[in-house]
């Protein structure tokens, strides 16, 4: 077999392959342009954008953890206007499929950011962030409750014609329920998971290691948790699911595809290995060739779960 068909269809969007970069770990793409052929990726998901510029949280903003890191960047960004004027054109010119991660402190703000991005070419979807643990207003406040999560999605849906991805937090009683709520509210796709609320302290200075005291854990450390969340959500909804959380190798990515994710986002490992996304894409291709699978969609969601007694 010469090559495989890596393209995947996620509801209204079609990606040339299932490998995307996760928001907050890949800047606005350009930062990695010397190292990664951006147009070869399924999509680049850019750093979270809000209506107004946000300075972010006080430092220290990151602390290393076992096989991962905890961050409390606090959605520092230049605001949607500057993003459209200064950051987005580069990706548009290079024909890189872009997903814009959006964030608001109120339902109205989410909707307004979405409406500003509505006519931007090259933006194949908006990813609604209702799961950031690092901000006081908005973020996880919306994502930890089915009805508020649904309200944000409905409001965004009204102001944009772009497909909507809703990015969920694992820090809820039932991620499946939240996924169902955003599906009902009109989300085209769900993505899970965002970082897991976490903290670190210094036993000598007796102070928190993050300026914001708490942050979000990401990296290989959270992969098994993320995989279980994706597994749960895939059973609970009919819309496509994007798997995120600790993916560092092609094998990791394939695990998420196996449990039913239609695509994956490669996140924190971009910091350790800037070429990880492209290496993962190559690894998936090689795996499928080895396995004699000509179409990646034939592999997605083929996990064999034997019910009790069948073993």
């Amino acid at each position: 077999m010469k090559d495989v068909n890596l393209s995947v269809t996620l509801g209204p969007i079609k990606l040339k392959n299932p490998v995307m970069t996760a928001s907050g770990t890949f800047g606005y793409g350009r930062e990695f342009a010397d190292l990664v052929p951006l147009e070869e990726l399924g999509a680049v998901v850019v750093k979270g954008i809000s209506l107004k510029p946000r300075p972010g949280n006080p430092p220290p903003r990151i602390v290393e953890a076992c096989a991962g890191l905890i961050n409390s960047v606090g959605l520092e960004n230049p605001g949607v206007e500057v993003f459209v004027k200064d950051k987005l054109p580069y990706l548009q010119k290079r024909n890189v499929p872009v997903v814009v991660n959006i964030f608001g402190e109120s339902v109205e703000e989410y909707a307004e950011v979405a409406s500003i991005l509505d006519d931007q070419p090259g933006v194949i979807a908006l990813e609604i962030n209702i799961s950031c643990p690092n901000v006081e207003a908005g973020g996880m406040v919306f994502g930890s409750n089915s009805s508020t999560a649904g309200r944000v999605v409905e409001a965004v849906k009204r102001t944009t014609s772009k497909p909507i991805i809703t990015k969920l937090s694992p820090q809820v009683t039932s991620i499946a329920e939240i996924a169902q709520a955003v599906e009902q509210a009109g989300s085209d796709i769900v993505a899970c998971i965002n970082t897991i609320p976490a903290m670190a302290v210094d036993i000598y200075t007796r102070t928190p290691r993050l300026g914001n005291v708490i942050g979000g854990l990401s990296g290989p450390a959270i992969k098994p948790i993320a995989l279980k969340c994706v597994f749960d959500v895939v059973q609970a909804v009919d819309i496509p699911v994007i798997g995120i959380g600790g993916i560092a190798t092609a094998e990791d990515a394939l695990e998420f595809l196996l449990v039913g994710a239609k695509a994956v986002q490669v996140g924190s490992v971009n910091l350790t290995n800037p070429r990880a996304s492209i290496e993962i894409l190559e690894g998936i291709r090689n795996f499928l060739i080895e396995q004699g699978i000509s179409n990646v969609e034939d592999y997605i969601g083929t996990l064999k779960v034997l019910s009790h007694g069948e073993n």
């Binding site: 800047g27 971009n270 350790t272």
Partner: protein, 274 residues
């Protein structure tokens, strides 16, 4: 300037002072070709994901013709411990050159003070070399402070690069007894001419004092900062420090050590909040 990810061969990795400060000599032609003093590389100290993040190190030596770069580091934690165990002939994954280097002072600069605390000297040696070549007429004075004389790197590394070296040690085992800022005060009171520009690198507490002093005397300065870093590329925004770049509607903005630094003009940092 293009950033490269390069598997560099270790030519040597040996203690330079005592048992805990090392020089790591690397064959890294792509990075060496583009590197400038004050810039840095991100080193992946282990192939596993624990430790997860790369570690940033300033260039200690850049040899473009030979394709060699060198970094100096002190063993302070898990990352640098692992790095210190690497042997000649092994390879290490590098990302660089990153950040902005030291900028040259105006052509007519007459007096330059280079102020180094501890292992901070390693970032300033290529800066001194550059100044010697490009501002040969300027008088270059090196203030070099450490805790005790045994922590000084050999003078052969910097002796030929400056006109005068003023040492300070906390315990008085070499040069002035006291911290480097007291040493500076002492020389100023003795009548030493104030510099037209300063270059500084060292522990944060030292940089804060020097910055306050430079600002009070309206002396322009370039300060090389350290920070925990995620990516080194300006993507994760993890290395923010309080800085005076206006950020949209907010007065209290941050600057980022990796891509807006690591070398900053003294007035661009809000030192009191660091």
């Amino acid at each position: 300037m293009k950033k490269h990810q390069e598997e560099a061969v270790i030519l040597d990795n040996i203690p330079i002072i005592g048992q805990d400060t090392y020089r790591l000599i690397l064959q890294a032609p792509m990075i060496a070709r583009e590197a400038r003093p004050g810039q840095f590389v991100m080193v992946r100290v282990d192939k596993s994901y624990d430790p997860f993040l790369r570690r940033p190190f300033s260039f200690f030596r850049i040899d473009k013709e030979e394709g060699i770069i060198e970094i100096g580091y002190k063993v302070v934690g898990r990352g640098t411990t692992l790095l210190s165990q690497k042997k000649r002939g092994q390879t290490v994954d590098l990302l660089g050159p990153l950040g902005n280097g030291f900028r040259l002072p105006p052509e007519d600069t007459s007096d330059i003070w280079v102020i180094a605390g501890g292992v901070g000297i390693t970032a300033l040696i290529p800066c001194l070399e550059d100044l010697r070549i490009k501002r040969p007429k300027a008088k270059r004075v090196l203030f070099y402070g450490v805790k005790t004389a045994s922590e000084l790197i050999p003078s052969s590394f910097f002796k030929s690069l400056c006109h005068e070296v003023l040492y300070s040690t906390d315990d008085g085992t070499m040069g002035f007894r006291g911290v480097i800022t007291e040493c500076i005060d002492y020389h100023v009171q003795k009548g030493e001419k104030l510099p037209s520009v300063i270059y500084a690198c060292g522990p944060l507490i030292m940089l804060k004092h020097i910055a306050r002093w430079a600002l009070a005397h309206s002396i322009p300065g370039q300060f090389c900062l350290e920070s925990i870093m995620g990516c080194g590329l300006g993507a994760c925004l993890g290395c923010a420090v309080p800085g005076n770049i206006r950020h949209g509607n907010s007065e209290k903005g941050y600057v980022h050590v990796c891509f807006e630094g690591p070398v900053f003009p003294v007035e661009n940092i809000r030192w009191d909040e660091l």
